[in-house]
């Protein structure tokens, strides 16, 4: 090989080795050793990368994805609940909730988290335990409606070194009317409980879902609830969102328009203020519930997040049972409000007619027992009309006795007593309509004719709910047509009414009597309204015998319940209202409550008519005005 002008490096090495050989030769073996060492080090490193990058790249890719991608729920707001005019009864308000991602949760962080968020540590641990069956990637909400102080606590601890398991999300929280207005109708929402999850009604929900627990919220939960969405975001190591990868929008729940009229509702609420009982107003022409009140009420806002234990205890242990919706769940003797149906039964069975008269001496004996009339001196000669107007007990003892328990029961059931009306609310009560069959079935005993006498004036085993009373009388008032009561407005509603074969003439006679109750100096004069023909019937139902009351052995709780059921106008009823005023002592005290609701209904109707007329006048005005001057 010839040397070029610029020698190759390899050639130079040969030369140099010769020059310095003597001094550095001793190291050549060690240099080789070092080279092998270097090769070993590089193989060691490369095998490390081989393991990571070639053998298990999927494993680490997945971890890298999980590192940077967070899936956060987007909570769907529940639908609003509106009254019949579109006014909002139940709204939502924006708030911030805290979710805990359990994938990288560290047990020892829980104490700090509980302290920072003002949560009870042991309850937080219990809550986590409840979710243990859910997959780890499902985050759980541990706190709603964070205060500014709690928010800044979260913001200050988002870095990976402190508490990265905390994440904030927006949430729409329920906002219910103040003072418990319409509380029982609307109900409330809450987190689905473990027992509920096992019931078929809630089977499709998961731990942590907020569902309707009572009232409309529960009945129409499927409509109101909406579908939660999801957001997949890329986050950096401080938990900051850098990019949105995927967004499944939440489908908000649908708004629900009720048949309830807030104006009437408020009037009814005011009428029951400080009293115990219920008011139900229906439109007998279609079954729409215009107002429904039960007192005492509760504040549903306390349920909006998780109710405090002490609040719950107070509600449950309250002797007045505020959680009970008396309008559909109180089953009480209807007292004299049952008499129109007894009269109807008498007329329909032909037991009595226009000429049927009895003489009331203030009481009468039946089957060896003396039954008193509520007027000590007696009513004298009483026929059907007077019997209803004066609510003469003796008259109805006689009618009931002649009609017999099974016919009474038949007409009571025909009017809707003894079974659920089918209103769209959960847990409606049935009431009891006693009959010989009923007694045999429940007590294995024969019916005694003497028992019929009490039932004829709405006492004995007979119990009804305020809703049933309004429903029964409303149907009777329109001539025997019963529309199922309902709370949600649906233009496509197709629910044919139940029509009973009742002679319209007989119904008219009963209605005429009920007109007299209010307008002819009867027991319901307090329900009278000028310009509006109000019909009605009072009732005062005993809870205990008068002897016991006089002996002073029982307290206020045993005072008579006052009832009033009324409708207007008499000839073509548009509204029927039943009011129950518990322990009022006097039956007539319930009448003004009904009167105010009926008055509010017609006042509103008049206002609407007037403004409509004014609007029409305005439209017509240009033609009516003076002709424009011609130039």
């Amino acid at each position: 090989m010839s040397f070029p002008i610029e020698p190759e490096p390899g050639d130079q090495r040969v030369v140099s080795q010769r020059v310095v050989r003597d001094d550095t030769k001793f190291t050549s073996g060690k240099l080789a050793f070092f080279q092998y060492l270097a090769v070993a080090v590089f193989l060691f490193l490369i095998s490390g990368f081989w393991n990571l990058q070639v053998r298990n790249p999927e494993l680490y890719s997945e971890q890298a994805e999980r590192n940077r991608i967070k899936s956060l729920p987007v909570l769907a707001p529940r639908g609003k609940i509106l009254d019949r005019d579109g006014r909002v009864i139940v709204d939502n308000h924006a708030s911030i909730s805290l979710i805990l991602s359990r994938e990288n949760l560290k047990e020892q962080h829980l104490h700090t988290i509980a302290t920072g968020l003002n949560l009870d540590y042991s309850r937080l641990v219990t809550r986590l335990a409840q979710f243990s069956s859910r997959p780890k990637y499902v985050p759980i909400i541990i706190k709603h409606e964070l205060t500014p102080a709690e928010l800044s606590f979260v913001e200050a601890h988002r870095d990976p070194e402190s508490l990265p398991e905390m994440e904030l999300i927006r949430a729409q929280r329920r906002l219910y009317p103040q003072n418990g207005v319409a509380a029982h109708v609307i109900g409330y929402v809450g987190e689905v409980s473990e027992t509920e999850l096992n019931s078929p009604e809630f089977i499709k929900y998961d731990q942590g879902n907020v569902v309707g627990k009572a009232g409309i919220e529960r009945q129409y939960n499927d409509v109101l609830i909406g579908v939660d969405g999801q957001r997949q975001v890329v986050v950096n190591n401080r938990g900051r969102e850098m990019q949105v990868l995927g967004f499944k929008e939440a489908i908000p729940g649908k708004n629900l328009q009720l048949t309830l009229d807030l104006d009437l509702q408020v009037v009814a609420e005011l009428g029951m203020e400080g009293r115990k009982g219920a008011v139900v107003a229906l439109d007998p022409r279609n079954g729409e519930v215009l107002a429904m009140v039960s007192t005492p009420a509760y504040d549903p806002n306390k349920f909006a997040s998780r109710i405090r234990a002490e609040d719950w205890r107070e509600l449950v242990n309250n002797p007045d049972i505020p959680l009970l919706n008396r309008a559909i769940q109180a089953q009480l003797a209807p007292g004299s409000t049952f008499k129109p149906l007894v009269a109807l039964a008498g007329l329909e069975t032909g037991t009595i007619d226009d000429n049927f008269k009895i003489y009331c001496r203030g009481g009468a004996s039946f089957y060896g027992r003396y039954f008193k009339c509520w007027v000590k001196g007696g009513h004298g000669t009483v026929e059907l009309h007077k019997g209803l107007v004066q609510s003469c007990d003796v008259f109805f003892y006689n009618v009931g006795n002649r009609v017999g328990i099974d016919q009474l029961a038949h007409y009571a059931q025909e009017a809707g007593f003894g079974k659920k009306t089918g209103i769209d609310l959960p847990h409606e009560a049935e009431g009891v309509v006693p009959s010989s069959e009923w007694k045999m079935k429940n007590f294995r005993q024969k019916w005694y004719a003497g028992e019929t006498i009490s039932v004829a004036i709405g006492q004995g085993a007979l119990t009804v709910t305020p809703l049933q009373l309004a429903y029964a009388m409303g149907g009777l008032a329109v001539g025997g047509v019963w529309y199922r009561p309902h709370l949600v407005r649906d233009p496509d509603r197709n629910d044919p009414p139940r029509i009973a074969k009742i002679d319209p003439a007989n119904a008219a006679k009963v209605v005429s009597g009920m007109y007299g109750v209010v307008n002819e100096g009867g027991t319901g004069v307090r329900a009278r309204l000028p310009g509006i023909s109000v019909c009605g019937k009072t009732g005062s139902a005993q809870l205990a015998s008068n002897e016991l009351l006089k002996a002073g052995k029982l307290g206020q709780n045993m005072k008579d319940n006052a009832w009033f059921v009324g409708f207007a106008p008499c000839e073509s009823p548009e509204i029927v209202v039943a009011a129950l005023y518990e322990n009022a002592e006097h039956g007539y005290l319930a009448a003004p409550i009904v009167r105010d609701v009926i008055k509010a209904y017609f006042d509103k109707k008049a206002r609407a008519t007037r403004s409509q007329m004014l609007a029409e006048l305005k439209r017509a005005a240009p033609q009516l005005g003076p002709a424009p001057p011609t130039p």
Partner: protein, 362 residues
Amino acid sequence: MAKYRSVRDLDWPLLVTTLVICALGILQIYSATRGTRWDDAWWRQALWVVAGFIVLWIASTIDYHTLVGHAFVFYLLSLGLLVLVLLVGKQVFGSRRWIGYGSFHLQVSEFVKIVLILLIARYMTELKSDRLEASDLWKLAGLVLVPMLLVMRQPDLGTALTYLPILGAGVLFAGLRWRYLVVIALVVALVLPLSWHFLKDYQKARLESFLDPSQDPQGSGYQVIQSKIAAGSGGMWGKGVTRGSQTQLQFLPVPHTDFIFSAFAEEHGFVGVVVMLGLYFVLLMQMVQNAQTAPDRAGLYVCMGVCALLLFHILVNIGMVVGRMPVTGIPLPLMSYGGSNILSFFLMLGLVNNVRLWRFVT
């Protein structure tokens, strides 16, 4: 200018390899610091590399025999500077490592490496025998231990440990009796468990998490886990420059300094890793070749000191990236961001070239 030297005689394969490694390093720094408060680091690094080549040039012009001859003066000077660092050094993250004025700070411990390389070369050239005696070992150990202890006081265990391979290379090439080797191994085996008590808490945590990263996934083990995720998720071909999620979203700790190779592995994949390690291997082998052709023992010890130090850095830093070495916080030569790191290694490369330029001179 001396007549023995011309630009043509420089080790061009070594310089080109160095330039390629630095360029890829700058690209990686750019990619890893985009959108962070370090986003001008790549530019600064480029300036350091330019400065490094100037330093390399200067270091290759001064006769290394002169440098080796004054090694003890440099040694005393660097001890003084290390003491000064402990007294008036700039404190960052709880340790005093930097000394300087205004915005210009140097990490003295980085340059002490060069001084130790020169010192050991000097000591070994003056050996009369073919083997090291026990007294030589004691002296050498003492000479290295003093700066090591000073650096550990900063505290900077990682840099202090880098002084050991320099000593190790010297001892290896000078020759050692087998029984001394056994004694050293025994002493190390005894001292290691004892030294546990002298470690700082964070150092213990690092070692513990090295042994089992999953014990502490959010603390010290976090870095190792995130580094392995970054490298592993890069796969065969990598995610592309500026496309590595671990790097870009800052899951990877310090992706422009200690964990730069992790960021590189994520964005360039296994192929990129092999290429990069190949470049480092070429660099090492060029140095070994320069050692082989060195005109005298001093030149050989200088080249192999640099070579051993470089190999140690690569092993510890990249081993840490793949989770096969504990987190020590020592930078990757030529790639990691940092002026002192770049300048000290360019100085060493200058020395290697210096030795090369003397190969024809007898």
